[in-house]
Amino acid sequence: MKDAVYVLGGEQTDFQRNWTKEGKTFMSLFREAVQDGLEKVGLTPDEIKKLNKQNRIGVFVGNFDGEQYAVQGHLGAFLTEVDPCFYGVPGARYEAACASGSVALDAAQTKLRSKDYDVAIVVGMEIMKTVSSSVGGDFLGTAAYYEKEAKGVQFPFPKLFGKLADVLLERYKLDEKRYMGALAEISRINYANAKRNPKAQTRSWFMNKEHANTRGGEFNMAVGGRLAITDCSQVTDGAALVVLANKNYAEEFAKKKGTKLSAYPKIKGWGHRVAPITFEAKVAESKGDKWVLPWTRQTVKDAYDRSGLNTKDIDVFETHDCFTSSEYAAISAFGITQPGKEHEAIEDGVIDFTGKKPINPSGGLIGAGHPVGASGVRMMLDIYKQVTGTAGDYQVEGAKNGLMLNIGGSATTNYVFVVGK
């Protein structure tokens, strides 16, 4: 891809926090995420003002459902409440369910490649603890075809991804015990990884494979067919920010920081595909295909093609494990195994933290937490950290290229970014 887009860095909030319990507003989450992120990158309010005068900067806010959870929309403009340096800065909110962060990233990179702007501040955010889990579950139902798939259904998404688990099992004629054990191992890995991540929601929660395998009991209730609580990511409050720049600014920034342009990783490839929105249509369409989620696979392929890289070149993955079944399907979408053989990679430790193809060293959505509109940006931040060697205790040794997969709905909106130096 021509016209490189560089990632200058960013920050996320502590996903363990419950902002409602803290008596804090939606704006507070926005304010802390933006202030922390800009401070970490080293982009000052004065610099933002200067860039804005030259019409070189834009803001892209990923958010799924501020209206329902926080009774607040118009988030591109709402940013002006965070700091007066954003007065006049072009900003807008981008929405694609759980892929909202990625659609904001994509809009940002497009503006940078076209040189409309030189710098893009991308913020993903969601506040979700304002309502009970059943009300929140209903809100999340709007990421599916609400009338057909969610209306009157308690916790629609665990049920949809429970169906995915069923389809995978049936399509590939898998041994049920072995398959469910592999899903439990996915939980174990994500929780174990989250223990190393100081911003992860579950960093002090207990989990092991034995517990993840006790589905249906008092302490691990079934919530969606075969799937139990331990198979689900937990919603939370959180935000993440990354700053992207094109070469025009990245060079200027590197000079200012006394470093080289090569210190910053680039977005090497990306993919964006939309599958049929209902799960039923997805399954019907994929019959006879090698992959149950062919559009997810296609998105990964698009990103590989654009980057000129392939599975063998990717050292670390961040995937959208909203449920264990989605991470399971992603393994073959990444090309780590053939479809139907994902459990082998799981059992052999391939995707574990020290494995050959580690997935979710951050803990992923299951371990790190899933503030819906923030997840895509958080993944980009984590891939940035990995390829710059700044992931601290959850650093994958020697990671040069990373790939993130962020999906909205029941694998409906698919986004992939490949980032590396």
């Binding site: 926090r17 803290e22 008596g23 507003t25 507070s28 092991n208 302490f219």
Partner: protein, 436 residues
């Protein structure tokens, strides 16, 4: 230090014992001998342990037993003996003698005493036993409160201490605070200083709202989810008394007089009003004739319970509002500039908390990060160093402390301006502890 595969928990039926056993069995995957006065009590402890951490998978690893029947055998096969029996030398020392006889060389023995001398308790052991004897002060409830104060004494081996600290942190997921063998260690010394002084001030201002007024002043914007006197009521006035009496007797620092238990606390304890656990203490919940829940507080002068009033204190409202908007410095500026008695009290206690927390560096802990971590993870109170930053830095904090006529800790006096004073940002986001 050898690998911890088998653990004996003494006092396994209490909330702390059962909760700690659950942590060891779940995170540490250890087999745990759950010992209590009798085996039925131990079995109750097993149920408590399972429900505290919400996993039945630890059940096969929890083995019930009694002190009379099982102590020696359990201890002899354990890598760690974790003692949580009653908080007195009279109870702990005879048990320690039995542990000392049964223990194999290399076995760690630790106590969760919150106030007794670890060195004195270690005396029951031979040289190897002394070397392996520690305070491991967990907080209640252990699954939620991740602090563990690892208390050392002169007889410990630094290599063993390091390994044990790593085990507690990495395997059991504790926030480990290394403290010296000093009364009440770090968390309780700081926490109960503030609580007891709040209780003293409540008496001083009993005609202005007393207990309810002090708690209203020390609400969310001062960095705590639960106000201090409400906390005393929650932990129990008898437990509070045990801790502050010990501190009054054993310490002679600049806050010494503030550890004296107020007379009305003793009065309430004497008549069995121990706090939430006995139905009433400093507070009492009741129902109005209309059936609505109502919170009453103990009116010290009148010796009766009266409804908690809705105080209208403008600076608190404004400080809370600013906290709610993540304007931490703005909120502290409101507190710094507000006029009136309530503002004077708020400033005094913030100054006292910062001054006292940081004054323990050197005596109780090595670094200020240790007191910050202790208060943040053991009490859910905003750490002192975070206050320093939100007050505007060391100079502003010193000014507040000086105006309150309190000692300026050396570490604060030596601090450089322009650098964040709080250094645990990537471990504990202190902002999360300030409530709007």
């Amino acid at each position: 230090m050898r690998e911890i595969k088998t653990v004996t928990v003494l006092g396994a039926n209490g909330t702390m014992g059962a909760g700690s056993a659950a942590i060891v069995a779940a995170f540490g995957k250890a087999k745990v001998h759950m010992l209590a006065r009798d085996v039925n009590k131990a079995k109750e402890g097993i149920e408590k342990a399972i429900s505290s951490i919400k996993t039945d998978t630890i059940r096969p690893r929890l083995i019930p037993g009694s002190y009379d029947q099982d102590l020696e055998k359990a201890v002899s096969e354990s890598d760690w003996v974790f003692e949580l029996v009653a908080e007195s030398y009279e109870v702990k020392e005879p048990i320690n003698k039995r542990i000392a006889k049964a223990r194999k060389p290399g076995t760690i023995v630790s106590t969760v005493s919150s106030g007794l001398s670890i060195a004195r308790l270690a005396d029951a052991f031979d040289e190897d036993g002394k070397k392996h004897y520690y305070g491991t002060h967990f907080f209640n409830p252990p699954y939620k409160m991740i602090l563990c104060e690892l208390v050392t004494h002169a007889g410990n081996d630094k290599k063993v201490t390091k390994k044990l600290g790593e085990y507690l942190a990495k395997t059991l997921g504790r926030a480990v605070v290394y403290t010296n063998d000093t009364p009440a260690f770090a968390g309780n010394r700081i926490g109960f200083q503030l609580i007891n002084e709040a209780a003293i001030k409540a008496e001083e201002y009993s005609d202005k709202g007393g207990i309810a007024l002090i708690d209203a002043i020390m609400s969310g914007y001062t960095g705590r989810a639960m106000a201090p006197l409400d906390t005393a009521d929650f932990v129990g006035l008898d437990v509070h008394k045990a801790i502050v009496d010990n501190l009054y007797e054993m310490t002679k620092d600049a806050a010494h007089s503030t550890f004296k238990l107020p007379g009305y606390f003793q009065k309430l304890i004497d008549r069995g009003d121990l706090g939430r656990k006995s139905g009433q203490g400093l507070y009492k919940m009741t129902k109005t004739p209309e059936g609505k829940k109502e919170k009453l507080y103990y009116d010290i002068k009148g010796d009766l319970f009266v409804p908690v009033p809705k105080f209208d204190i403008p600076f608190i409202k404004e400080a809370n509002r600013r906290m709610g908007e993540a304007d931490y410095i703005g909120a502290m500026n409101i507190v710094k500039e507000a006029k009136g008695l309530e503002a004077d009290i708020a400033r005094y206690f913030i100054a006292r908390y910062v001054s006292y927390s940081l004054s323990l560096v050197g005596e109780v802990v090595e670094t200020k990060e240790m007191t910050d971590l202790a208060m943040g993870t053991g009490f859910n109170w905003a750490p002192a160093s975070a206050f320093v930053d939100f007050l505007g830095g060391p100079k502003e904090a010193i000014s507040l402390i000086t105006k309150a006529k309190l000692p300026v800790p050396e570490i604060l006096a030596k601090a450089k301006a322009g650098k964040p004073f709080y250094q645990l940002k990537d471990i504990l986001d202190a902002r999360s502890l300030f409530k709007g």
